[in-house]
Symmetry: C2
Subunit: 187 residues, 2 copies
C-alpha cells in the first residue's frame, strides 16, 4: 500500500526552511543560540495546563525545542492561558505519542543526543549529582502512567529528584522545570 | 478598645501544643527534621491552583512550613486537586496579607531568619550564585503585582532566576519550586 507511515527523519524534525520558525526567538538574551541546547519531549503529557505551563518555562530557560503529541494543544484555551504567548517564541514539534515517539528517539540518538528519562526507578540517577550532556533530550512521563516500559528501555539514563516528604511525586511541569533549570546551569 | 489587633508572636506562629501538628510529617525521609528548614511565605499569592501546587512541592522538598493568607484556601477544590493531600502532611500557617505580614517578617527576623524576596529588581542576586542561610524565609510575590514596595524594603535580599527568553516571568509556583530546590540542595 502507498499508505504507509512516513519515517521520522532528522530533516523532517528540524526543517531548515520552515517559515513558522522565522518568528521564533532563536537568539537568547545571553547571546547563545536556542537551537544549541536541550530538547524537552512532552508527548506523553495529557493535560493542556501542564503543557502550557511547561511551554512558558521552556521558553524562559532557553530550551531548544519543545515536542508535544499534537499541535492542536496550542489552540487550547487553558494551554494559552498558562503559556502566556511562549508558544510563539519557541520552536514546537509534533511527535505523536505511540506511533512516532520511539522512532523519534532512535533518530535523535543517532544524531548524538542523550535521552534522559525523568522517572523514579530503582536505578535512577540522583539529580543533585547528575551531569547533563550538552545534547540532551528530556523525556517527561505521563501524569498518571509515567514513562511506558518500551520507552523506558530506550533511555540512556533515568534521573529523579530526591523526595523527602510523604507525597510520592511532583507535578510533571514542576519536575520538568527543576530538571531544565539544572541543565541550564550546566550549559 | 478591647478589639485591637493581636500581635503576631513567635509562640503564636509556632505553637508547641497544636494538636493539628501531630499528624504532620515532621521527620523527613532523609532523617532530618522538617521543622529545621526553609519557610515559604505565599500570603501574597491569590490563585488557589498556585497555592495547592506550591503546597505539594513544599511537602515533597521538605519545606518547614508554608504560610498562606487564609486557611480557607485549603478547603478549595482546586487547591486540593493540585495539593494531592500535601496539606495534610506539612504545617501551614495563616498570616494575613496586609495586616500581619509585615509584623510576621519582623518577628521572624528577630528569630534570626533571613528574608529572601523572590523578585526581579535591579539589585537582585542571581540564583546561580546564591547561598541560602539555613534559617531562610522565601517571600513569594503576587501573580500580577509581585512583592509590594513596603515589603520589598524589609527583605534582606532579593533573588531572581536568570531568564533567557522573551517571556518576562515564570509562573510563581515554578519560581518557588526552583528556589526551594536550590535551598534543599544546600541544606
Amino acid at each position: 500500500s502507498a499508505n504507509v507511515q512516513q519515517k521520522i527523519t532528522p530533516w523532517k524534525i528540524f526543517p531548515t526552511d520552515d517559515e513558522s520558525l522565522l518568528s521564533k526567538q532563536l537568539t537568547l538574551s545571553n547571546g547563545k543560540s536556542r537551537e544549541d541546547g536541550l530538547i524537552v519531549v512532552a508527548s506523553l503529557i495529557d493535560k493542556a495546563a501542564n503543557l502550557g505551563g511547561l511551554c512558558r518555562t521552556c521558553e524562559i530557560l532557553g530550551v531548544s525545542r519543545l515536542v508535544i503529541s499534537n499541535k492542536n494543544f496550542i489552540e487550547n484555551r487553558e494551554f494559552q492561558s498558562l503559556s502566556v504567548t511562549a508558544h510563539k517564541w519557541i520552536p514546537i514539534d509534533e511527535v505523536v505519542r505511540v506511533e512516532e515517539l520511539e522512532e523519534y528517539l532512535i533518530s535523535m540518538k543517532q544524531l548524538g543526543y542523550s535521552v534522559v528519562g525523568v522517572e523514579q526507578t530503582a536505578n535512577s540517577a540522583d539529580l543533585t549529582k547528575y551531569d547533563f550532556a550538552k545534547r540532551s533530550i528530556l523525556l517527561l512521563g505521563n501524569e498518571r502512567e509515567g514513562i511506558p516500559v518500551p520507552l523506558l528501555k530506550m533511555v540512556d539514563e533515568c534521573v529523579a529528584i530526591p523526595q523527602l516528604g510523604t507525597i510520592r511525586s511532583f507535578n510533571v511541569h514542576v519536575t520538568g522545570a527543576v530538571l531544565i533549570w539544572e541543565y541550564s546551569k550546566q550549559h
